[in-house]
């Protein structure tokens, strides 16, 4: 029994969309962070992480989101998060104020269409 997460990458115009399915905790957080960083080429405008299929995030995983936002910002790229309004993770993410580093939208579509 171990923690597993799957990342599916797509390109929507200038933005990379990464679907993060599964669970992320301290055992796989840095690995997931590296994979997500690797998925964003220099010419991309930004990264949207789709958290609709994410079942669990702990403080290490949330820390990685902050770190990822910082890494991307150094490259003038933006991180956005897509999370359905009824997701069990919502309250926790808002509690950690992740929105200050990466805006949180209700869906990938909204995250992409906001200018």
């Amino acid at each position: 029994m171990s923690t597993s997460a799957e990342i599916a990458i797509e390109r929507e115009g200038g933005t990379v969309v990464a679907r993060l399915n599964g669970e992320v905790d301290m055992t796989n957080a840095s690995y997931v962070g590296d994979e997500l960083t690797r998925a964003v080429p220099n010419d991309a405008v930004g990264l949207v992480i789709d958290l609709s299929g994410t079942r669990y995030l702990d403080s290490a995983a949330i820390e990685l989101l902050f770190e990822l936002a910082r890494r991307l910002q150094r490259r003038r790229q933006q991180l956005r998060l897509a999370l359905p309004s009824d997701s069990p993770l919502r309250r926790v993410l808002l509690l950690t104020d992740i929105a200050s580093a990466a805006p949180v939208y209700d869906s990938v579509r909204e995250a992409l269409s906001d200018g």
Partner: protein, 604 residues
Amino acid sequence: MQRPDRSQEAVAALGLRALSGIDTAELTEEALAVIAEQLPGTRPSVEEGDGFALSVPIPGSGGPVGAIGLRTEEPREFDPGEVAFVQSVANILGAATERARAERSEGVFRELADNAPVMIWTTDPDGLVTFVNTGWLEFTGTTFEEELGESWTLGVHPDDSRRVADSWYEALAMREPWSMEYRLRARDGEFRWIVDRGVPRWSDDGEFVGYVGTASDIHERKQMEEALRRVYEREHRVAETLQRSLLPEKLPEIEGVTLAARYLPAGEGAAVGGDWYDAAELPDGRVALVVGDVVGHGLRAAAVMGQLRNAFRAYAITEASPAAIVARLNRLVMTGGEGVMATVLYLALDRDTGEVSYASAGHPPPLLLTPEGPRYLEGGRSVPVGAADIVTFREETTTMPPGSTLLLYTDGLVERRDTPLEDRLGQLAAAATASSGDMEDLCDEILQGVLGGADPADDVALLAVRPTPIDAHRLDLSLPAEPEQLARLRRRLSRFLHAVGASDEEAYEVTLTISEAAGNAIEHAYGPGDASFRVQAVVENGEIVVVVRDSGQWRDPRGHAPTGGGRGRGLSIIEGLMENVEIVREAHGTTVRMRRRLRAAVEA
């Protein structure tokens, strides 16, 4: 991201490469590369030498034909699993080498046959040799006189002479045609196989005048047949080794269910089949079970079985429905081509609700043993995988009453030419119901009751599953303070919180706070086995009350925590999500007490 152990997959892939008939030298190179990849830090080689950290023989029909030796940078021990893996690779090389040898021998045989002198002989009516031609004499290296009369028998191999003499004199007495394969001493002193055929002759007056016969040197052909027979036996053993290495040695320990399994290979003389079973815990908390039977035998079936088993684990994690998983297995087998088919039964079980959903691709129905009696789960049936490209795979859902046991098996258990299937299924249900022991006894009694101690004609796999009830009132769990335990903690908490009626959001938040409370011990334990943590939870008055005890010290979040914001964030999460948080730091460890209202809590 999960890093699956790929050594079984690698062995299966190598086996397929060997079957594809590639050059032995190339196969050897690939085999060594596979070992180096699976066992990093080793340098495998088939060269002779010393200083090997591990040396494993490459088997041949007359003894080892070589060895795979591993050198390492630093001294290192190999565990039994690793040694078995290298041995599996060596077995594949051994089988491929043997086959290549047999094929070369065939070439030599053809050349000889084109130039082979024919040996001719005649006898008188009493069966005494009256003539042999130069071809015979060139073979035996004897003189004409030495072969006359009965003395030709002196050249027959001692182990064959009784057989030759008996059959010859019997035919002679009946004046019937005679034919025999035996060993005759050749001119170099060695015995060679010949096939000797004689027919009776009659004069124009109808009088029996003796026999005329011809003999041919079949030594190379005989040897090739021998080699092929040994290759087949070795292939059978390799397929068995492959299959054994691909079966789970023991089933994983899955919290909340008891599992037991049996695997019986078919009796001696039957080809190795492709039966397999597996069990895995799914990310959504359900337990997935699979049983399968690849049609066909030998190396190919075992290799395909390995592919299906690995695919099951990968697909079960990503797909939700049994029908979708079986559909993906079908695509996998169809793209493999070559008419491979398999029956598969996939089943996903919710340990807490007892809900079972399943799909059967041509596979016998699972048997559900409930307190009220047995019943077969007949729904969700489709054709086997690998039968057709476009297939609708069906699934069915039902509920296991508390106290039930589920049985999955392969058709080797119930297929018999002489008995109708329904009768056999009835026998299975009766044997299963009659058993009152634990799971291991259940498996043994089923096999005894259905097979009656006889060897099955086809492989038999049997997998028994019994969910264990959970206490919905209190939780008391101790775990080692290691990061890998976090997933296990979540599984356990998820079941408990579900049972007490927490919503998905509440379950996540409570699980998160408990994990964060345990996280400090996990991050700062001094070494493996050094520390553990204990979680106790109870629901009272609509509130969940949790105590997490560990033997670590909480870092001051405002101080210099080595993980930067991590631990500090963890503490603020706890305080944000739980209503009363109390942290007591003492010399021997830290205790975190917290509580929170649950909207729809079940009262203790």
